[in-house]
């Protein structure tokens, strides 16, 4: 039985004080200031006056910015879906791998974290660009076929893989996949394997076992995987900026330009906090779903 924190209040508070201090001073306090900015107005070039105005939020709800929010949701949602579809089999494979192999596979999943996001994104550019690895490889195949057939394929046209929305989603899936695989793996790994054997013994096929036994029991892992993939994807800034085309602006890019170039901190703060509110809502929804799932199990 775990000991309740109430029985060791002194120790609990001592241990809590440092992280609490950190949280308040470096997270809650600065964020509160930005939150106050969102109700302020520019006063000259340098100052922001706190006027309690809602005009920043009203402006943020104009169709232009709502559309960009919708677009960001689309891209983040698609990214999350693809991560789930790709990540689930990978997590399943790691779960059923031999104990010797497992740590290595997990290490492979986490390996990209050892490189800066910017470097990984530039590496993707090297692969996807007009004279990148994929197009150069295709051109080589194309030319050798042409060489054998006497130019049957015509002139090589490189694929447009970079600077479009495809590249943005591709990049986001590439970056966020580990965030999906790890919670899925930890949920699947705890699964009682004898239940799977029972299901198979009782005549269910592999597919049916997967959908009727594995997925319902891994529900919490799937939900947290979706959440921690979706939230960073929704606020992604670097990927659309570097891999995207002219239309690939996501809400974080707009926020950046409001803070930096437009020097309109109040409006940038309002847009940022809309994103924060949406994140809270997503977490709340996940909490409700999880509670409901727990009730069903119990």
């Amino acid at each position: 039985m775990e000991q309740s924190w109430r029985q060791a209040k002194g120790l609990f508070l001592t241990l809590l004080s440092a992280p609490l201090f950190w949280l308040v001073v470096f997270f809650i306090a600065p964020l509160s200031i930005v939150w106050l900015y969102s109700f302020g107005q520019n006063d000259g070039l340098v100052d922001i006056a706190f006027t309690g105005t809602w005009s920043n939020y009203a402006h943020a709800f104009s169709p232009l910015y709502l559309n960009i929010f919708v677009k960001s949701f689309w891209i983040a949602g698609l990214t999350t879906f693809l991560c789930l579809v790709i990540g689930f089999p990978v997590a399943l494979a790691i779960t059923f791998a031999s104990d010797k192999l497992k740590p290595w596979l997990l290490l492979l999943v986490m390996l990209p974290f050892m490189t800066n996001l910017l470097i990984r994104t530039y590496a993707l550019i090297a692969v996807l660009r007009t004279k990148g690895l994929i197009n150069m490889g295709l051109e080589m195949v194309h030319n050798s076929v042409n060489g054998m057939t006497g130019g049957a394929l015509g002139v090589f046209e490189p694929l447009a893989l970079l600077n479009n929305n495809f590249a943005v989603v591709f990049g986001l899936v590439f970056v966020n996949l580990p965030f999906m695989i790890l919670p899925l793996y930890s949920a699947l790994d705890r699964l009682d394997k004898s239940l799977l054997e029972a299901s198979l013994d009782l005549g269910a096929g592999h597919i049916r076992t997967l959908f009727n036994v594995v997925i319902p029991m891994a529900g919490a892992g799937i939900a947290s995987g979706i959440l921690i993939t979706f939230i960073p994807a929704l606020g992604s800034y670097l990927t659309p900026d570097l891999l995207g085309g002219p239309d690939s602006q996501m809400i974080a890019n707009v926020i950046e330009s409001q803070f930096k170039r437009a020097n309109n901190w109040p409006f940038g703060a309002a847009l940022s906090f809309l994103l924060v509110y949406l994140t809270f809502i997503a977490i709340a929804v996940q909490g409700v779903l999880e509670a409901r799932a727990r009730k069903r199990v119990a």
Partner: protein, 370 residues
Amino acid sequence: MTFPKIPASRRSILQGLGAAAMGISFGGLAGCEPAKKKLNFYNWDTYIGPTTLGDFEKATGTPVNMSLFASNDELFAKLKAGNSGFDVIVPSNDFVERMSQANLLMPLDHAKIPNLKNVDPAFLNPPYDPGRKFSMPYTWLVLGIGYNTKTMKDGKIPDSWKYVFDSDTYAKKIAWLSEAGDLVRLAAKYLGHSVNALDDKVLADVEALLTKQVKAGNILRFHSDDGQDLLAGGDVDVVIEYNGDIAQKKAEMPELDFVVPVEGSQFNADTLAIPVGAPMPDEAHAFINYLLDAKAGAAISTEIKYPTPNLAAKALMPDSYKNNPIIFPPAEALAKCEYAAFAGAEMAQKMEELITRVRAAAGMPAEEEA
């Protein structure tokens, strides 16, 4: 096979790495010696000679500590919160205006800067700082079209903004720079207006022009001052860029070239200034004076390859620099170029939103491709 280089232009590399926010410091381990007060110099990346700071210390005994910023916005944001100890900064022309309006710059004492005599008289009374009250000229830049001579249709020089703003000749092979203000002003220039005559009518015309070009799918991307790399990598054929960036790239790739379009373009200038609250104003004046010295200036220009407004320094430079048509475009092309004045915070916000609208109009993403 060409791999993309991490863009190393003075404006973009730190921005990308996010390191600039912290201000990388190049001070040595000075703590070991009896503390000598250091002059704090806040500069762009790759924007000083390799030995300039050491030479200044040898000449005057004042050590210099250089920190780097990646954009004028960053410089402005840092100083707007109060000067935390910078003595000399390098703002661009419109920010000289903006910062002096916000009372962030200290008036310069010309008596302490005798090397002002080295500066081209054409730079002594610019519209953004009449009489050089707040700033000394360091370098200047001009926007234009960088292009690949090998891929131009009929070998023509793309000498009009038409090729980037209003034509599908190079469809999907065009990159625009992502600075909203610059983009709007250049489009206005193409439509025959001064870069400083933007009213609502002109803005509406500019928006229609840009929206049409983006919606037609002719633009590959908005680049963050790494246009020379897109050009070198074959991703685009024409790109809006600064002359210095293309000059640097042409040294590696001779087929690249640069033209100032016939409609004229926009100048930018980077300047030396002293922020209000500088701890060492005397040494700051001495440092600015040193940077305007002929020999010191020539050493800087050799390294950074941007045009210099310092005639004495230019006289010391080799012909490959002095007669480089990219670094110093022909006079008749420059005659049509203008400096952009700072048009106020509200205008900056209007232009930013205009570009946001243009990009949003390009169509909803993701459905088709994925």
